[in-house]
């Protein structure tokens, strides 16, 4: 907006100076060109506006017959063309320069963010490992401690684990958002599900987990990232639903790859658009279960990085279902020696 006002002012200035100073026609042209150049620093739009206004004003006020838009001499058309050319050329150049600079700044900020996160992550992981180690070491070394103290040690270990999980999610989101291509390997969904449930063994103790996977179906993915995604989805379900309710995991081939579902019978999605649960730092209304609000954002980041997508929906009969589509299908066709 300011750039357009500046364009208006520059042209008005040129008209005023040209009118008062009573210069030669060629000098008036120079004045207008100067006004256009000043305006074009604001970008292509202001440059174009200044060029149009200058052509009109120059024609009206200075080109004989004056105070009409009529043109007696056709060579003035050439002047008009040059005015437009200057406005567009300078405006475009300025815009391109500005974009280049913005991209560079963005890249530098991104680099800084990644470096910072990597350092922070390392500097936080080491103390976390020490806390976990020391707490387990005290617990294992003194089984005769009173029950509350053993419980306190367990809490320390559990909270350190949670912090570690938040760190991992933070690192993962930085990685997938930096736009790097994930590696692609064909991995059976069954293997990913098995590894995920194995890592969540403690949280899933006593939980009814129903698994229904299409036989031999696999995905073309980075196995570490995809396990992380499944882990977040299942952990999200364990956090937000009562322990007595089941969690269902299913996978089948779809028209555009493989669809993997994690469904629960909990309270369903929070009010509002379903998409919001994938926003960074979004937390549900149940504050007891609140984490850092990164888990599902990481899931979306990972799905998108693989060229896939994710959605959340209310489930018939109550509960929520999270569906991920990833590239994949049956095992690669080339001969597998048996």
């Amino acid at each position: 907006m300011r750039a357009y006002l500046l364009a208006l002012a520059a042209v008005a200035g040129a008209i005023a100076i040209g009118g008062v100073a009573d210069l030669a026609l060629a000098d008036d042209v120079m004045l207008f060109l100067l006004a256009i150049m000043i305006a074009a620093i604001g970008g292509r739009g202001p440059g174009l506006l200044a060029a149009a206004l200058s052509v009109a004003a120059y024609d009206f006020f200075f080109v004989p017959p004056r105070f009409t838009f009529a043109i007696a001499d056709l060579h003035h058309l050439m002047t008009f063309a040059v005015m437009f050319a200057v406005g567009i050329a300078i405006g475009t150049l300025v815009q391109r320069l500005r974009h280049a600079r913005e991209a560079e700044l963005r890249a530098r900020a991104e680099e800084l963010r990644s470096a910072l996160l990597a350092t922070v992550s390392h500097d936080l992981r080491t103390p976390l490992a020490i806390i976990t180690g020391m707490a387990t070491s005290v617990r294992d070394g003194a089984p005769q401690l009173p029950a509350e103290q053993l419980e306190a040690l367990d809490t320390i270990v559990e909270e350190a684990r949670r912090l570690g999980a938040i760190l991992t999610n933070t690192m993962t989101i930085t990685r997938v958002e930096s736009g790097g291509q994930p590696r692609r390997e064909w991995v059976p969904v069954e293997e990913l599900v098995g590894a995920t449930l194995d890592r969540l063994d403690a949280q899933l103790a006593g939980r009814d987990v129903k698994i229904s996977l299409e036989r031999d179906v696999g995905v073309h993915v980075d196995p570490v990232l995809t396990e992380q995604m499944l882990l977040n989805l299942v952990e999200n379900a364990t956090k937000h639903t009562p322990a007595a309710t089941p969690i269902e995991i299913a996978a089948r081939r779809a028209s555009d790859g493989v669809a993997i579902e994690v469904a629960d019978r909990g309270p369903g999605l929070p009010p509002g658009p379903a998409e919001q649960v994938f926003e960074k730092f979004f937390r549900g209304p149940d504050t007891r279960a609140a984490g850092a609000g990164l888990g599902l954002a990481v899931c979306r980041g990972i799905a998108v990085a693989h060229g896939g997508r994710i959605e959340a929906a209310a489930r018939d009969g109550g509960g929520a279902v999270f569906r991920v589509w990833l590239p994949g299908g049956l095992a690669p066709q080339e001969a597998i020696p048996a």
């Binding site: 180690g133 070491s137 570490v224």
Partner: protein, 241 residues
């Protein structure tokens, strides 16, 4: 709780508090502990202290822990367990392929540490080819007769599945990388064809496990490889509840 025989474990770790935790945990379980904070100290201690096992943090300040591992492997077969973070899978694979025996992901507790060390020590002491029959949990592998039984019932395996299972069983409790498994079972031409491995592992799980989607024995280490769980994983190796 088992008490070892006062053998020395070398801890190569630059963070003093982390070293203290490792020292306490190992000493409590009867190991003597030699400590090194730098690569130089580590190389010196590896020759002087004659450790039975080495715990090596990959993130040493004065150089890569991998460098130490490679140099160590030129003259020693002492088991090495590397410590690394969750998102450093490539480092773990590199270390395992360079001769590390196992890894621990930070953070870990004393029970995991001791379980890894025990498995490594056991494998260092027994030659895998010694035993014609390996029994792990419900799985019984007769290597001479190429027969596998689960819960007493014979299971028909393809030759590839048998070789995979026998290999994992010979290293029970230890992780084997994709590359190591591909190299042993398919040969040097196929070390990048991880989908071969995954397809046959999936088939093997269906024959060995009660529920292939929740395997009890054939564990996946995402981005690293596979591990046949150790049946001797007794209650004191599991995280106390």
């Amino acid at each position: 709780m088992t008490t070892e025989t006062g053998e020395t474990v070398l801890v190569v770790e630059n963070e003093a508090p982390m070293r203290r935790f490792l020292r306490t945990a190992l000493a409590t379980h009867g190991f003597r502990v030699a400590e090194a904070g730098t690569l130089r100290e580590a190389e010196e201690a590896a020759t002087r202290a004659m450790p039975v096992a080495i715990v090596l943090d990959l993130g040493l300040p004065d150089g890569d822990g991998l460098e130490l591992l490679r140099r160590l492997r030129e003259w020693s077969t002492t088991p090495v367990i590397v410590l690394s973070a969750r998102d450093r899978e490539d480092d773990k694979v590199t270390a395992l392929d360079a001769g590390a025996d196992d890894y621990l992901t930070k953070p870990f507790g004393t029970s995991e540490l001791l379980a890894r060390i025990r498995v490594a020590l056991r494998h260092a002491r027994t030659q895998p080819s010694d035993e014609p029959i390996i029994a792990i949990g419900p799985i019984r592998i007769d290597r001479a007769r190429h027969e596998v039984a689960v819960d007493g019932a014979l299971v028909h395996l393809t030759p590839i599945e048998f070789r995979l299972l026998a290999l994992l069983a010979a290293h029970a409790g230890k992780v084997l990388t994709h590359r190591q498994l591909l190299l042993e079972v398919w040969g040097p031409g196929s070390t990048h064809e991880t989908h071969y491995l995954r397809v046959h592992m999936a088939a093997l799980r269906r024959k060995i496990e009660r529920d292939a989607a929740r395997p009890k024995w054939l564990a996946t280490e995402a981005g690293v490889g596979y591990r046949l769980r150790d049946a001797s994983r007794s209650s004191d190796d599991l995280p106390p509840r």
